[in-house]
Symmetry: D3
Subunit: 284 residues, 6 copies
């Protein structure tokens, strides 16, 4: 039913029907308050993905061994946030309905809300693991409730207490951290405690959202709000591999803004994160 996109992410050229995983872009950044540009992430990643290999020496696996369909980019409304989130939710629901794992490429972090809405309908007991530099827990931001800075609070509105697990957080206002203490699990600065969370979530459906700014800006400058003091690529990779034993029913990588890194390193690194993420998913 869905037609195949020829310019795909490297090694993701399977037909929709035969694929276990579906990647798609959500090029939306209308609520970004500081520096926009994440709308270009998915397009840039497809183009630059041909600079990396399909084979991972870390996992000794190859994208050729698995089946991934690249659905291209959603055509989202700019300047109409509610409608754009609805469009993301709709597409994610379609993929879930067909028994596949949706893997979204943002866009600003708010796009996660659209995907989680669909996932939470199919898996009411879904838990969320968030790798991120920013807490994203504001109740509202400049009077708007739908914002990149409020997205995890909105996810909490859907899921409630004890369902969200944050790692790598190193920025937020005081009230976010205080509110968070009562409602979600936050590990500041790094991935300490991740094993315990993985242990705890065995058997549960999990949605994994990777805000790429969890990486140190030295290795990932191409993002809207860089925060010094982040994790290295190898630390992120190891964290992803730890999580990969869980039942991941949906995931996303977001907040790449290619224009801020003219060396192309950020895009190349995002491609490598996505490759490792795809290879790590259990698709039985």
């Amino acid at each position: 039913m869905l037609s195949k996109n020829i310019e795909t992410f490297i090694g993701c050229d399977n037909a929709y029907e035969e694929s276990k995983i579906v990647i798609f872009g959500a090029p939306f950044d209308s609520t970004t308050s500081f520096r926009p540009g994440t709308r270009f992430a998915s397009k840039a990643m497809r183009g630059e993905s041909f600079g990396i290999e399909t084979y991972s020496p870390y996992q000794d696996k190859d994208l050729e061994d698995i089946t991934v369909f690249d659905g291209g980019d959603l055509e989202l409304s700019f300047g109409n946030t509610s409608r754009a989130l609805g469009q993301i939710e709709e597409f994610t629901a379609l993929v879930l309905e067909d028994g596949k794992i949706p893997c979204m490429i943002g866009g600003e972090h708010l796009v996660t809300l659209g995907a989680v809405r669909a996932v939470a309908k199919k898996y009411p007991d879904v838990h969320v693991i968030q790798f991120d530099a920013h807490a994203d827990l504001r109740e509202d931001y400049l009077d708007e409730t739908l914002s990149h800075a409020t997205v995890i609070h909105r996810v909490w509105d859907l899921l409630g207490d004890d369902r969200i697990f944050q790692f790598g957080i190193r920025s937020g206002d005081r009230s976010e951290f205080q509110w968070g203490k009562d409602h979600i699990f936050t590990n500041k600065f790094n991935f300490n405690g991740l094993e315990d969370v993985v242990e705890k979530l065995q058997g549960k459906p999990v949605y994994l959202t990777i805000d790429l700014d969890v990486l140190d800006p030295s290795v990932f400058p191409g993002t809207g709000t860089p925060e010094a003091g982040g994790v290295s690529f190898m630390e992120l990779l190891h964290a992803m591999l730890k999580v990969s034993g869980l039942n991941i029913v949906g995931c996303d990588v977001n907040e790449l803004s290619p224009i801020y890194d003219q060396s192309g390193v950020s895009t190349a690194t995002a491609c490598k994160v996505l490759r490792e993420l795809l290879l790590s998913l259990k698709t039985n």
Copy 2:
């Protein structure tokens, strides 16, 4: 009532009460479909304005001779277009109410709609002169009616036939040009016919909107959708001086996107256009 902004555009450091002209930034680009970034224009222009002089050898006038208040930037909602336009309309109305000329710095071209709404309330017979590369006459764009690509159609919704005069237009789809023939005056490519329009609008209230991409991209690369074949700075200057004899009750310059021109030339040129515009306004 309004407090003074210390980092002003060069030579625009008068108090609100004593000023005949009020400049302010509308840093909004949420509907920009191609390359965002105009939100940074007003801030960049204030900073770079200190690279130009307050004196114009073209008009033999000096910003020190006139009174301009720089109201700083409006805090606009990102991702909520209707609200943002309301905020612009409200501020513009306030300035008009106090008998001053509002001169807005965009932002994407859609911000003009907010200002024109306020102007049309005070001056129901207002006419609009538009310098632009793009017709901006679509009925809707990706299903949205409020968009940088529809803004002049929306202005027409307010004002009706024979009230809008476009110059420099060199891009649009076929239907825009066809629709335009019945409703507005369009001069393609350059400023031919401007004298006649100026003649015709003597004594009428006029709103002047300058989309800076009317300039050739050689002199103004720093914009979201550059279109080869534009006018030179001197041609734009002469057109502005022709218009300056009219009763301009409001104006704007828009679509500078500083990030796409790392040489700084586009920002410097925008500053010079603004200086000449301010000096050309009749403030009796």
Copy 3:
């Protein structure tokens, strides 16, 4: 037989069989001695083409009205110039055989040699019109006979005297200009004399090669060897329209190097040149 490329140049999404014109990329720059990068031109142009319209207000024509197939990029050998030229010749011959007009996107200017070889086989009396800043008439360059700096001399090897017409030339060594006087027609600096040439070539098969560095570097900085003192976009457009009455059996645009112009203006301008070229071709 050939499959359709989904990410096409804007408006060029017709099937091969039904198309009168075939565009394709020749991403080759291995002999570029100064600043490489033209290999990225065709890919960049496809991506950025969505920033322009399919409709031309200059010709009042629309890409939707004509039939163009976008064959994607040839996979050319890097570092093996002879083989790469052979691959270009082969593809061009295929297109000609099917009665279509080949329109190649370079690549460095040397790629023209591959296309002209195929064209000259089908049309032995083909004439070449070249718009360029550089004469490209060297006998050899750093001991190599196949080079961007020798390409028109190599074309002369194929076609002989009085078959090549150069316009806009403003750079070369003295010996190139001297040799040229006896063998080809050279008009320096601009398009003077083009009408006469057009008159003379009525009814003859013509290959048109546009080295985009004929444009002034102000409007086209994104090229390997920028030469001040070039023509404006409007001058190039008018020259193209003059030539369009001829029987053009093949054409190319080349020498865009997107990386040297981070504003994107050069790529946008190249797209607009290509749109106007496609719309101007007689395809009856």
Copy 4:
């Protein structure tokens, strides 16, 4: 007495009278021999500071909890080094006189000399802690004694032996290191030995100068003379927190050159260093 600067560093909008700390810019780089540009640091930091939070999750403190006045930028003479240093000394003395802590934003490292002159007058027994990649210990540089490359030698002229403590040094000529052995304390490459120095300086007045190029260029490329092999942001942060128990009577951060890092990461990191520095100062 001093008027308030509206565009302040984030959270530093207190009135002069009520503030314990005064930040100010010293935009001077006239002696920079390699790549100038630090003159833009303070302006860039104020603008970009709104991309970080006022709250530090590292120290669990907020800029809202303390009182900082932002005095804007000094207007320094370009091309007249002696006069510029005099202007810095004068302003620093004024701040000290009023019982506040001066915190200067460079500029090239030479600006430290102006501030230390004022500090040494009020606190003759002041000790200097320097975090830096470069020794800056030359006697003269290209025959000039006032230079970014001689600044710590000039500070030694004022203070004498055993008063200067360098950390992170990984560049200099052989003679600098040899001279340094007899006159100052140098720890190469990292912060080893900092605890001992902190122990030793308990109760003494201390001036802390942070040349931001002590950071590894991966996280801080935006500087004139990047030196591979530097410390990470977290190492610098921990070193700053160790020093914060001392009686710091003045401090500076310097050598950010925003133009060399178009990603904005260096400026954002400098802002974060300044936030942490301000929050770490003992103010009563």
Copy 5:
């Protein structure tokens, strides 16, 4: 006596003794108040000069036909303006003494003062022709009398009334223009009136100073203070050729700041201006 620099400007590899013209760099920008970087001009021009040809199709002359020695760059004191000007004067005097024409590559425009001092000693009746966007006639700037903004006033201090002829001027404060009316000849915006001046200066010794920002920023963005509304390359070339009939005893090109134009076009254009200048000098 002077040794030869191997990395020379293209075609300028003659020995000092046999040369009629001597080019040398004056990489100084310490008084630049806005955006420094002209110190890199001469080095960048030498490197990029290999992208242009030695032959000029405009003049039908070749750098191989004349004798030019490239003396490399002077080692100038940064941050000590008086000393730097003395160094320039000294070198220029040496070249003049040996009967050669000095042709300096700036640096900021202030370097012209050093050269004119030497020239005025040998030729007390020297006249100065200045191509520039800025009047540079301030009495002082930020209290400094030696500044890029005062340089022509300082030249007037040496030469007096009716000896200086400015063309292309489009920026300055009102007082500069007013002062200028009584003391020098100023033609605003373009080269109108140049023929008359050339007529008038027949037989007189002339120093020609070309501030490259006289060019429109579209073709020359790589400069510290770009001013829209400048002349084209061809207009500048024609003006240079008009002046070339005069007895030019010294000259300079200045204010290229390569870092602000990453396309390299500004540097390439500066190289072409220098080539044409060198070829146009009468050296008999």
Copy 6:
């Protein structure tokens, strides 16, 4: 016999006859399939080398203490790979013949093949140590056997099994790793096992090839194919010092592509790697 190049790498200005080491550039990148630009490396490194010191605080040695001749850049054929490799081999042989150590600055990694050919003729039992992110072990690439992606396979063609030792490898296709297991020693990701290799190669002639992309892209973004997860500068430095006890008869550093890192950090880091490499060579 060879003449001295005046613009040398810092501190490498000895005469050929008196030098123990000879550095030279091999500016070749014609087979680069992804992003070209390494041809500019040697030129950029010479220019930027003046931003580092000749003295190494790591080794407490100074370039002034040793004798290095900088032979400038080879003039290599672009687009004719075989000939270019022949030119490299020839020059390397010349240096070896004169009893000096050749130290080549690439260029893409393929240039290593030319140098190793010459080395293997003089030292048939030469062993190769490779620091690299990529295995470079393909049998052919896009049908070409001479390619940056096949270079180490080609070296193996010359030397056979058990003579090549790779470290830091983190990218390749599956078949490369599989083939490698039987023919060469590969240590993935880091320098583990280097001591053993050094132990094993005592007394043997060794060629050391450093593909600078072995460094993490955070510290070395300026390369064609950046691969996250690399080593730090200090790790590379320690590895080089371990190797330095061996009998290194030739070496190279390659794959710097300056244009992709506008901060200049990559070039500065490459310079520092080269300085440390030169200082670490045993020249008895």
